[in-house]
Amino acid sequence: MTTDVVSATLRPGLARPPLRDRLKLEHVVMGGAVVALIVLVVLPLLSLLFGSVKGEDGLSFDHFSEVLSGRLYLTALKNSLILGAWTSLFSLVLGLLLAWAVSRTDVPCKPLIQLTATLSYLSPPFLTAIALTYLFSPNAGLMNVLMRDTAGLPWLTFNIFSMPGLVLVTVMHTFPFVYLLASSALLSVDASYEEAAQILGASKLRTALSITAPLVAPAILSGTLLAFVNALALFGSQAIIGLPARIFTLPTRIYALFDYPPEYGLASALSLVLVLITVVALYLQRAFLARRSYVTLAGKGSRPQLMQLGPLRWVMLGVVIVIFIVSIGAPYATLIAVSFSKSWGLEFWKGLTLANYKFILFDYNVTQRAILNSLMLATAAATIAVILGAVIGWIDLRTRIPGRRFLDYAALIPLGLPGIVVAVALIQFWLAMPVALYGTLAILLLAYVGRYIPLGVRAANSSLRQIDPSLEESAQILGASWMTTMREITLPLIRPGLFAGWLLVFVPVIQELSASILLFSSSSITLAVAVYNLYETGYIEPVAALAMINMVIIGVAIWLANWVGGGRLVSRGDAAPVSA
């Protein structure tokens, strides 16, 4: 055996120097993704930490001591916790009731329940909040006027600008978290577990308490914690409902700290308090969810017997219809009605008009720019998030590079960061940099990509997991370089998953408010910010028209996402933070 034979068998063009001797393209691509993740997530977060302990001279915990003793901040913390607690409780009751009804009873119109939960989950909470102010603002709210002046029942009026109002608006967005996790858990409990208890002589109640409940409890608790985390982070509804009632929460208090003169240190410290609560809750949620595995193991078993509710099922149906009307029907009908009204009030139908749309679309010079900005930003953010996600996912699953776990964790960090915190961190970081990004589209893009990178990584991860590594390895052994393998094998195979992930990012970005509100400028204004600003300035009817335009764009994006992803967007039990 001579070396001549070797060079003949290793075909020309395939023989290359050993791995360590060359800088391969894949290392450049992977290195780029790592750098991007560090710039997007790690550095802003570090500068948030740094900013919170930066005093006049050197390290100081003044910001933290003020945040933890000042009345304003303690009140905000208290309000956030009260809001979170009530919201979790009602989300639990509502979500569990609906999940139980769908999976274990013979209640009619089950698709209506599914639809209610899905639409509530996908509706931008700040739009629902605005819609409800049209009905329940103390003086001019249509329902209040109706009850007080027309029906003469002043005790039936409801002031939306209150903690109960805020809880109502928030629950409408958060109960689906419990519903989605609880119903999938209840459906996946194999009926034979329950039948085995019954054949041993356990009553229905006993079976439910000692077999079913322990099996599904982790999923329900996990859903409740997700509801809590999301309730805390929703800037839009807390600003729209809370501020007129002088109810400050952590996000709105952080927002207020940016009024002139901005208090960066305090805002950073307060942000970290919010992050801490969120992270603890998410940690508990993961821990609960991890215990759920044995339910899904038995997934394909027989379905449980449905409980015969008898006449009670019509009561149950009534409850479902009320929930649908309050959370979906009324807000949307109101927005539509207001947007076509000359003047919103008891006799609004007497002056129906298209003037609001004409004003918003053609006369109000912000709208077109905002629509264009939002579409561009969402497209760019979704594309970048998915590409980064694909590279990070690939590194995690296909390489043995040391530190790849850290990369994966870093990409998940933003799940624990409320939008307004992302904005504070970015401001802290980029103000210290020599590049003037503040107020540009670029900083919004950074915020969106940073915030939604977990969705990109998750989409890429789950697609990559379905591709056996041997598909790539067999291309490699035939002589394909990394780039060729990616182009010819990997990317074509994960393309559907990546596209679903793309839309999964696009949809929340197009309705993003809580980070945008601190980062926009008049030239980089986005759709959601435009709606919020217009509402703040007190236009009534044009706001509804703009909100409707926003809704239509979101609706089209969601429809597209669902159509492409085959229902994946809606059926995700692990509930991405779609909150605005």
């Binding site: 055996m1 001579t2 070396t3 034979v5 070797v6 068998t9 290793l10 075909r11 063009g13 395939l14 023989a15 290359r16 050993p18 791995l19 360590r20 001797d21 056996d468 041997s470 598909l471 390895e473 067999s474 291309a475 490699q476 052994i477 035939l478 002589g479 394909a480 370089s481 060729t484 010819e488 094998i489 074509p492 195979l493």
Partner: protein, 366 residues
Amino acid sequence: MAGIAIRGLSKSFGARDASFAAVADLDLEIKDNSFVTLLGPSGCGKTTTLRLIAGYIVPDKGTIEVDGRVLSSPGAVVSPEARGMGMVFQNYAVWPHKTVFENVVFGLKLRRVPTAAAKKQVETALSLVNLSGLEGRYPNELSGGQQQRVALARSLVVEPSILLLDEPLSNLDAKLRERMRTELKELQRRTGITFVYVTHDQAEALALSDHVAVMSGGRLQQYGTPFEVYAHPANRMVADFMGLVNLVPGKVRALANGVGTVELSPNFTLDVAALDGLKPGEAVDIAIRPENIRLGGPGGATTRLGKITNQVFLGNINEYYATLSSGQVLRVQTHPLQQFKIGEEVAIEVDATQCSVFRRAIGDTT
């Protein structure tokens, strides 16, 4: 074509404190133009060895040479795409988004073979594996066996010097497996490519290989022709793994002229070829294949008797369990027409030349 020399190859996985050696200190010489099987139970390190040869894994220690050129060593590994080898995976790894033709032509495109020539080569490769006419199909329109052959054609079309096969038949049903077995053997003879074949199925290994490397716990247990490893296993593990065997404990009663008399049970001794340095009184295990035992009527015999305690009819053979007076049970395979009743006393005749003797190591049970 190409021979492979593996020297002192080691690979561990897992964290440093909890690592386990998947391959430990492996030496193996694979001759040019031969069919070699890496055989062993799951977790024995055979697939790791194959992936080390392919270059997917960097060894911790040792080298892999192909025709005198070092391809793998701890410091430098020629990447798989530069090795000019072929590999067939257990799950076929036929790309689902490409047609049969696109799958097979992929390697030729990378080698910039002109379209017309490539088309011709693909046709030849597909006819070699009896898949002509299916060029336009997608993998999901093919059966498992057909996908398997697409994977084969895809590897063969680029004329690799070495073809690595990772349990390629394990996902096929029994009939098809047997047919593909013959085809693979045929193919290796015709192409002269060196085949390195990984399997846990000893029957497959015996049927296919020129040489079998039996592995266990990351170590090479025996390397030899199929007959050698079957008839003269190097140790208890190999004896046990290669088909059915009775491992019977015994004691050395006498030694003379290289022949040891081993007592298996009172009134039951065997004269076997003794191991070096065996001493009288030492405990040993004797491996007796069921087909090397014959049963007969007791006649007037007073030694080597047993009692039939169980019987299983397997169609082409009859299997009996004969219990010796010590309680030791022997599995015996006989012609289906030779029949005994349960409880019947039988004379047991063992072909001692086909038995292997193993020293009882400390800690061994049985």
